[in-house]
């Protein structure tokens, strides 16, 4: 026979962002550590070898930090002016950096003075990187050129001057030792092959290019500039795959997650957005206090470091699961009996006789089942339900009203109980999802307790508060309607040009009506 049907609690869509795998993953970081640098942080680079120290370029210094250290473990400070783009070599032993004077310096991680200095750029070299054969360095500078340098001989190999504006970003291919990409303020991204004299490919980004990134596969190129992040298929000759416009200020830096599944972009609008590289939808975003200039992810996404214009370095470390395991697990003795026979693997010829599933009813359902309406209402007015899941309280009230026993349940309450009811009402009566039910409840309460009004100062005060809240809401709704009316008028004037008149048919029955576009 049909069993008791529990009260249906209407689920309301949760406001705010939905919890997905991504939000869980990207929320799994500890509270950030803030490190103050001397100037705007223009580059952060992680050492590719453990322990994954990172080099931070800010102002005229390059600081090397250990993963959990808040103080630099090493500093390169022999720059006259600003240093740029300190980048590790693949083996983590060498570091290269550009400078405002235009020279490119190569450092040994252990040493202090520069091993090599490459002179040739006439203006600030903003971007430097090692090619993947480890023996060459490419650099891009504000003198519109990009050059290739040979480390052993510390000489210039080739210079490209195809860009017509500052070269501010670039990267090298991990697969091909001869391939590198530069992005410039002339709105183009150029792909160069060190073996040829000219660029291999030119891509029109449409805005000054602030950052470029090659996918590990080398097939896809991401460029950022203006508000746009664009993904290009370079194997198809620079075919635009997707254009993302999720920031509302210039995008300054790009970064890939260690798995290559997520793309991160930082922007002057103080947000870091995380995109899925399959759907190119934003799956998560971080907020920061200031405009973001640089961004780096440690291997395995262990740390997110963001450098900002105000010179603050924001370091987030990933939380680790072992913290949870430290909490001693409480083992109930009944557990063994509970799982007894559960892990029995049925044989092929066994017959299943399933036990009838017992429905566990909530307390209020049990009370409703036995028609104890007042107690059921009491049960849902208890603090955890009333405060955290008001929808259950309201659902039970609605159920009582459906059963025609709401009045009985509300009546006969003492000062304290009435107080809780009224507090609940004042808090939720104006919420659109609860209003139809709660207005009904409020009317009933007023009807029931009208005769005893004035006997308790506390209750009277709460009635006054309820009245206040409702009056406020009425005013508010009135204002909203006014605004709506004004907007309607505006829309009507905007769309009046679009009114189309249909072809007139010369019969008496079908008549021509102008399209009502106001709906």
């Amino acid at each position: 026979m049909a069993s008791y049907k529990p009260v249906a609690v209407l689920p309301f869509p949760r406001l705010g962002e939905k919890v997905t795998q991504d939000t869980l993953y990207w929320k799994g970081y500890k509270t950030p550590v803030q490190i103050k640098e001397f100037g705007a942080v223009n580059k952060i680079d992680f050492s590719p070898v453990p322990p994954h120290n990172y080099a931070v370029t800010a102002s005229s210094r390059i600081h090397i930090y250990g993963r959990y250290s808040q103080e630099p473990i090493k500093t390169f400070s022999r720059f006259k002016d600003a240093a740029y783009c300190a980048t590790y070599r693949d083996d983590g032993k060498l570091l290269v950096a550009g400078s405002e004077e235009g020279n490119v310096r190569l450092f040994d991680i252990g040493g202090r003075a520069a091993l090599r200095q490459f002179d040739g750029h006439t203006k600030a070299a903003h971007v430097v990187d090692f090619l993947s054969d480890k023996y060459r360095i490419f650099s891009g500078a504000d003198d519109y050129t990009s050059k290739l340098w040979d480390i052993p001989s510390s000489s210039e190999i080739v210079s490209y001057s195809e860009h017509t504006d500052y070269v501010r970003c670039g990267c090298t291919s991990k697969l091909n030792a001869d391939l590198f990409v530069t992005g410039s303020y002339d709105h183009t991204v150029k792909v160069f092959d060190a073996r040829t004299e000219k660029s291999a490919l030119t891509i029109e980004h449409g805005h000054p290019v602030e950052s470029v990134l090659l996918f590990p596969s080398g097939g896809l190129l991401v460029s950022a500039g203006g508000r746009y992040v664009k993904v290009w298929d370079i194997l198809k000759g620079g075919y635009l795959l997707v254009s993302l416009k999720n920031h509302h200020k210039t995008v300054t830096c790009l970064c890939l997650s260690s798995s290559g599944q997520r793309l991160l972009s930082g922007s002057l609008d103080r947000h870091v957005k995380i995109y899925s590289t399959t759907s190119y939808k934003v799956v998560h975003s971080f907020d920061y206090a200031a405009s973001i200039l640089s961004l780096a992810l440690a291997p395995e996404d262990e740390t997110i470091i963001v450098g900002m214009t105000n010179g603050v370095l924001n370091v987030r470390h990933r939380k680790h699961e072992e913290n949870k395991e430290r909490i001693p697990k409480k083992r109930h003795p009944a557990y063994r009996t509970f799982v007894k026979g559960r892990n029995y693997m049925p044989k092929q010829e066994d017959f299943f006789v399933s036990k009838p599933v017992r429905n566990h009813l909530k307390k209020y359902d049990k009370l409703l089942k036995s028609f104890q309406v007042s107690k059921a209402l009491d049960a849902v007015l208890e603090v955890p339900i009333r405060v955290y899941t008001p929808e259950i309280t309201v659902a039970v009230m609605q159920e009582l009203s459906r059963r025609g026993t709401l009045k009985n349940a509300l009546a006969g309450r003492d000062e304290k109980q009435l107080g809780t009811l009224l507090t609940f009402l004042t808090r939720h009566v104006v919420e659109p999802r609860f209003a139809p039910v709660l207005i009904n409840v409020a009317e009933m309460i007023i009807d029931i307790y009208l005769s005893v009004a004035g006997q308790s100062a506390v209750v009277d005060k709460q009635f006054m508060r309820l009245q206040e809240v409702i009056e406020k809401e009425i005013d508010y709704q009135g204002e909203l309607l006014e605004t709506l009316g004004m907007m309607d008028a505006l829309f009507a004037t905007m769309t009046s040009k679009k009114v189309t008149s249909l072809e007139n048919k010369s019969n008496g029955i079908s008549k021509v009506v102008e399209q009502d576009t106001r709906n």
Binding site: A2, A8, S279, E349, K369, E399, S401, R402, D516, N519
Partner: protein
């Protein structure tokens, strides 16, 4: 010879089962219940209708087992309101008839009739002697006491007891109102089978137990109160230890030893209990419910079977809908449910709980009603709308979208939309997306708030949102007129929405208004597009009775006719459209094609009053209809619901043909549960029986019966928990079913065939041929050689061959 076919309106299915108390047969294996003009006999174990007793031409009002002969029942029809027979007197019975035999009379009397023992079915009697006058006509209000010593009858505020021995009547009055505002009116009465005790049920839910009523003054009664609404029926169990009562609460209450404290409940039986009856052997009792249901309950208050007919509510708000998947008729069932009713088998397939709320059985409560239901063209989606309105101001509306789940073979809730519109919904329809490439399921709802909304199914399960549900895609309105109806064209490219007097046609791709039609001054009520070759027409009816047909190509009115059409229903399989008009008292049916000036068929006076709704249901197999005029009936059948909530259809067949003996095949002997095992064994036994009958007088009788085989015996007598696995026993069991070698004359060949067919079922047809060809030459050879005279042994052998039963092949 061609017989002129006649179109007749026939009642189909879903007759009432709860008109009177159902009666158990003496062994409690069958349940007899009055169903319209028939008496249906159900098996209490299988819930199947075993056969139908016919004979009455009007409503059957009562059934009574003959106390002398357990195999005989008395069945009484209309005008006799109740019949009682007593164990002591085999030649007399008691009936309740109207006073002075007038139909209009309001008072009834209980009379004694002498029953003559006539050989025929019907009993005619002339001798009447009055027992009690001025009684209630309901059979529940009169009851016979212990061994027929007295009869108790209640009416209004009086209990009258007539003692046969003393030939005198005692009347016990109750006051109309007591201090507490109780309502003392009697509703039913029951007598204790062993003691002098009368139980009476009252309007306020009290049950009174009367004792010592042989004295007019010193009678006593005790009251028991649990029901909060009127007690609908009372029944004592066979021994009289328990009293069963039921009412609107739909809870069966069992009072032990007549004491108020010892009571047990069987709650949530579905709807109002109208009748309770107890089986003579005391093992079962049954309750008849308002929703056309009989529940058979074991003595330990456990439901053992439910016999469910077509649920007929007070109004069918959803109209008649067809489930495209099962071709079942779908309409409102019990409160908050949608019932799927199979018209072919006259049986409810299942109930779908739409509202999913605990139903409170209490008078005067405004319940959540299911008001709309629609299926998508393939039956993958079901949209339902439920509403509850207590006061003018607060309306609760919910639209639910159900997806068909192949695994569960049922509909599963997908999306619940709270308040889809601000006012009552007037229509909803799905867009037919068969022909469209990757068509997104689309639903349109029209409502009194002057808007129509387009809902589309969004499958975002591949993205991170993981949401699979319906969202609103477009909201349209037309000068804030109320939207009355909506309808998609057959290919789904156009949507017609009627706004009061105006029909608007929208492009379903861009949701642009394409054109408008109207036929002043009437408001448009129903709308439908023509189908197939008539797809360029749009039809509508106005409340002034006009049926209008607009041509969508020329945007002009093609034709209109003032017929007073109230129902317009297109046939999904052809261009035909059925219109039911009601100008005077009777409804007329017109079947027409929009492109033809002359209707295909006109049938006047299909029923009295207005037809509520109608629907075409596609036939499983097209029916051969001889007459050109009724060709429209060949592919689908038109069903309609009359004002009296009766389900009717049209048929050209004569009444004799219609009554197919489909019910007869279910006459299961011994009414055992029909398990596959039973079928296998039972069939075999049947064959054996037949064979034995045929072999009577013959020398050779099968000595080898499956039953007597030790393997089967072992199988049947070993407790189930010590048996080896079924897979292990299977081969031995199958072997016992085979006809053994010794009985075969042409042993080897047939044996081989047996082995083969055992391996592969689908080869069995071939095998039959094979054996036949193998046998035939032998037979002819035999005949040819010894035509004049055969030796006795040869003759025997020959007979054996002929008698060998090969039907086991088909059994496999």
């Amino acid at each position: 010879m061609v017989v002129q076919e006649q179109l007749r309106v026939v009642r189909c299915g879903g007759s009432k089962l709860n008109g009177s108390r159902a009666v158990f047969s003496a062994d409690a294996k069958y349940l007899l219940c009055a169903s319209g003009d028939y008496v249906k006999v159900y098996s209490t174990a299988t819930e199947e209708c075993i056969h139908i007793l016919q004979g009455h031409t009007n409503l059957v009002t009562g059934i009574q087992l003959n106390p002398q002969n357990h195999l005989q029942t008395f069945v009484v029809g209309y005008k006799i309101f109740a019949f009682y027979s007593l164990a002591g007197s085999d030649d007399s019975g008691f009936v309740i008839i109207p006073k002075n035999n007038e139909e209009a009379s309001d008072s009834f009397q209980l009379v004694l009739v002498r029953l003559t023992k006539a050989p025929g079915q019907e009993v005619e009697t002339k001798e009447l002697s009055l027992i009690l006058d001025d009684i209630d006509h309901s059979p529940k209000c009169t009851a016979f006491g212990r061994e027929g010593e007295y009869v108790a009858s209640v009416r209004g505020l009086h209990l009258s007891v007539y003692f046969f021995k003393k030939k005198m009547t005692h009347r016990f009055p109750l006051s109309a109102r007591t201090v507490k505002g109780a309502n003392n009116y009697f509703t039913c009465v029951a007598c204790h089978p062993k003691e002098d005790c009368i139980a009476s049920g009252h309007k306020d839910g009290k049950i009174r137990l009367w004792r010592n009523f042989t004295h007019n003054k010193e009678y006593t009664f005790s009251a028991m109160h649990w029901h909060h609404n009127a007690v609908m029926d009372l029944a004592f169990t066979v021994e009289g230890t328990n009293l069963l009562s039921g009412g609107l609460e739909s809870v069966l209450v069992q009072w032990r030893d007549g004491s108020e404290s010892k009571k047990e409940f069987l709650p949530r039986l579905g709807s109002t209990i109208e009748h309770i009856s107890v089986s003579p052997d005391g093992t079962l009792c049954c309750t008849s419910h308002a929703e056309n249901k009989i529940t058979i309950i074991q003595s330990n208050l456990r439901v053992s079977a439910v016999i469910q007919g077509l649920v007929k509510g007070s109004s069918v708000k959803t109209g008649l809908v067809v489930d495209p998947r099962t071709k079942a008729l779908v309409l409102n069932g019990k409160p908050g449910h949608l019932q799927f009713f199979c018209l072919q088998s006259d049986k409810q397939l299942y109930n779908l709980d739409i509202v999913q709320q605990e139903y409170i059985h209490q008078a005067g409560l405004s319940q959540t009603d299911l008001v709309k239901a629609a299926f998508s063209a393939q039956g993958n989606w079901l949209a339902t709308v439920e509403q509850r309105q207590e006061k003018e101001s607060d309306l609760e509306l919910q639209m639910k979208l159900w997806a068909y789940d192949e695994q569960m073979q049922s509909f599963k809730l997908n999306t619940r939309i709270n308040m889809p519109h601000e006012d009552h919904l007037t229509a909803l329809c799905f867009r037919d997306t068969d022909g469209v490439e990757d068509g997104i399921p689309t639903l349109v709802t029209a409502a009194k708030d002057g808007r129509f909304k387009v809902w589309v199914f969004m499958d975002e399960s591949d993205t991170d949102k993981q949401s699979v549900g319906w969202i609103c895609d477009f909201v349209g309105s037309y000068h804030n007129y109320q939207a009355n109806n909506c309808c998609f064209s057959e290919d789904g490219s156009l949507l017609a929405v009627s706004f009061e007097e105006i029909v608007t046609v929208w492009d379903s791709e861009t949701w642009d208004l394409k054109c408008t039609f109207c036929h002043p001054p009437g408001k448009i009520w129903s709308l439908c597009f023509g189908r197939l070759i008539c797809s360029k027409y749009l039809l509508g009816t106005t409340d002034h009775g006009f049926l209008c047909c607009w041509n969508l190509l020329s945007c002009a009115l093609e034709w209109s006719a003032q017929l007073g059409v109230i129902v317009l229903q297109p046939d999904p399989l052809s261009e035909n459209i059925a219109a039911v008009s009601c100008i005077s008292e009777d409804s007329d049916l017109f079947v027409f094609r929009p492109n033809e000036p002359r209707p295909l068929c006109i049938q006047r006076k299909v029923c009295r009053g207005k037809v509520q709704c109608a629907v075409f249901i596609p036939r499983n197999v097209p029916e051969a209809v001889g007459s050109e005029k009724y060709q429209w009936l060949s592919r689908s059948q038109l069903y309609f619901l009359t004002a009296m909530q009766e389900l009717m259809t049209f048929s050209t067949k004569s009444p004799e043909v219609r009554l197919t003996p489909s019910s007869k095949q279910l006459a299961v002997e011994e009414s055992l549960p029909m398990t596959p095992f039973y079928l296998l064994l039972g069939k075999h036994r049947e064959q054996q029986q037949l064979k034995k009958d045929a072999d009577i007088g013959k020398a050779v009788v099968h000595s080898h019966s499956a039953q007597s085989s030790p393997a089967v015996k072992e199988l049947l007598h070993t407790p189930a928990h010590v048996l080896p696995s079924a897979a292990f026993l299977c081969s031995t069991f199958i072997n016992t079913l085979l006809i053994s070698k010794e009985n075969k004359s042409n042993g080897e060949v047939a044996d081989e065939v047996e082995m083969e067919s055992e391996k592969a079922e689908d080869e069995s047809d071939e095998d039959i041929d094979h054996t036949a060809t193998e046998e035939d030459p032998k037979l002819t050879e035999l005949w040819g050689e010894m035509t004049p005279k055969l030796s006795k042994s040869q003759e025997k052998e020959l007979r054996k061959i002929r008698k060998t039963d090969y039907s086991w092949i088909s059994a496999l």
